[in-house]
Subunit: 342 residues, 2 copies
Amino acid sequence: MKLALIGLGTVNRGLLELLLEKKDILLKEYNFNPLITAISDPVVGSIFSEKGLNIEEILSLLQKENNIGNYSDGVKGWDSEKTIKEANADTIVEATPTDLETGEPGLSLLRTALSNKKNIVTTNKGPIVLAYRELRDLAEKNEVIFRFEGTVLSGTPVISFVESNFKGIEIKEVRGIMNGTANYILTKMEIGLSYEEALKRAQEKGIAEEQPEADIKGWDAAAKIVIVANVLMGGNLKFKDVSIKGIDTVRENDIIKALQERKHWKLIATAKKTEGKIIASVAPEILSDQDPLSKITGSINAINFTTDILGNIMVSGPGAGKRETGYALLSDLLYINESRRM
Amino acid sequence: MKLALIGLGTVNRGLLELLLEKKDILLKEYNFNPLITAISDPVVGSIFSEKGLNIEEILSLLQKENNIGNYSDGVKGWDSEKTIKEANADTIVEATPTDLETGEPGLSLLRTALSNKKNIVTTNKGPIVLAYRELRDLAEKNEVIFRFEGTVLSGTPVISFVESNFKGIEIKEVRGIMNGTANYILTKMEIGLSYEEALKRAQEKGIAEEQPEADIKGWDAAAKIVIVANVLMGGNLKFKDVSIKGIDTVRENDIIKALQERKHWKLIATAKKTEGKIIASVAPEILSDQDPLSKITGSINAINFTTDILGNIMVSGPGAGKRETGYALLSDLLYINESRRM
């Protein structure tokens, strides 16, 4: 496989580290030995090299200079569009920043990639929330593969979990803790921190961003529940169809009072099939101590599927992180690699 | 695909019901439309019919007479061995009773099936605990597929979960609540029932068997942890390598005392890699309220994987049941069906 990486932030760096660390086992067990022909990032630089880039040198440059302009070989300065079209890659690894309103720059880049018959793996929620069906159909038309495992709970398998393990099973309802920052803040407030202190600590630990609105106000969880509803439950929801309430509506007193009754406030994202329609929402809820979701603490995420054959099946794991999200990309690449070998 | 069913107890009846209920979706989405050419059970009867058996008639006879001797067609009275060899099936669905000491009758039947180049799906723990490597190698030699998802947590995906979703990931430790009966009893003891009352209630509800030793004494959980260690962690454990302590060692007082400190007794099965070796045990443990496994109540099962890339990933769901275990067989059959189409 020949890959071009679009965006070289945390996620694609996580992927590069895993490709290096797991090189031997990926070759031996999965016959996976990709060539990275190009990387394009508007901040840290762009390189194209027909014979493939040296991952160790790239990572070393990033560590030393946070820039790949001094790479020892190749053509410099191509933008993302040109890289997608001309880097001679068969698969594009797209990890540009998420914009839930426009989907850009990712959405246009994904359209370009698919129209140019490139497979795609991405962790970018924006384009999937806004245009899942369009992109899916475009991929089908161009006979390429389009994967986005990392858009839901980073490396914790959700989309591939359902695809691989729920064959013939109908999902009636999904409930999840799908935002690690919100869950971390609520967990810390239970041990007495104020909302502001908990947010500050989350930011210090790199769990929350400088601009934490998307997490706090429930937008990030809403994006994920739209993806789950549309991809795994056959829905066709828009972001605005989700009723959204963030954790900024929960008072410290509410949390302490609930705790005295052994109950826990959690930001719950829900999608439920009712009379053929899917209703989705994100809101803080008080969970009883008996609800397994009540025990999901800190930045851990979890998703519970209510199914027709197996009742409730829950998966929990990390919801973010460099290696974890990098792994989501790797798992999608391995899927494509296997499909090609059939 | 042409199937022969060996054993017609709860599990294979669950499979038949699902094949009927999901007929349309299995055909449409998975191109799966199996012909059942034979069923053989020493108690309820045996039939072989080249043109395939009518599932509705079989289920109706079972419901009315608990016997299939009056089926309207076919050759009656073949034993399991003859059915495997001569029923012209390509895949054998084996669901005879589990014997953890000898593996019989399943082990001999599976050997016969593999040697006769039949794919196998089974829910029978005995043969996998005793002879996983032998059967795996025999399947490979005969170029057939050998699947046993239902041996661990019934339909809750464990083996296929790891196969599909942990590519390139190393499992360092597994901890699980892998026996629903033991967990049900411990849960009921927390609300004040004595051990005897809790066991009686489990038996009345069909959760515990008349002879509950395998569940109570930890043998069933030990069998499952051997399978997990050997199949998913590269181990080569024998049943006797597992240190086993059952819930019959837990006193009512212990449970009440733990509960006062918000702690919970659970029967925990563990397999841990230490210096290249796998150490496995089953024992009641006191879990803190913060441990997600402490919130797994009733007959629900759960398994937590500690991994090198994703940290802790937990899956929970049913650990037993007619439909649930029947689904494990169905999921394995779908796997074989897909492999054949490649």
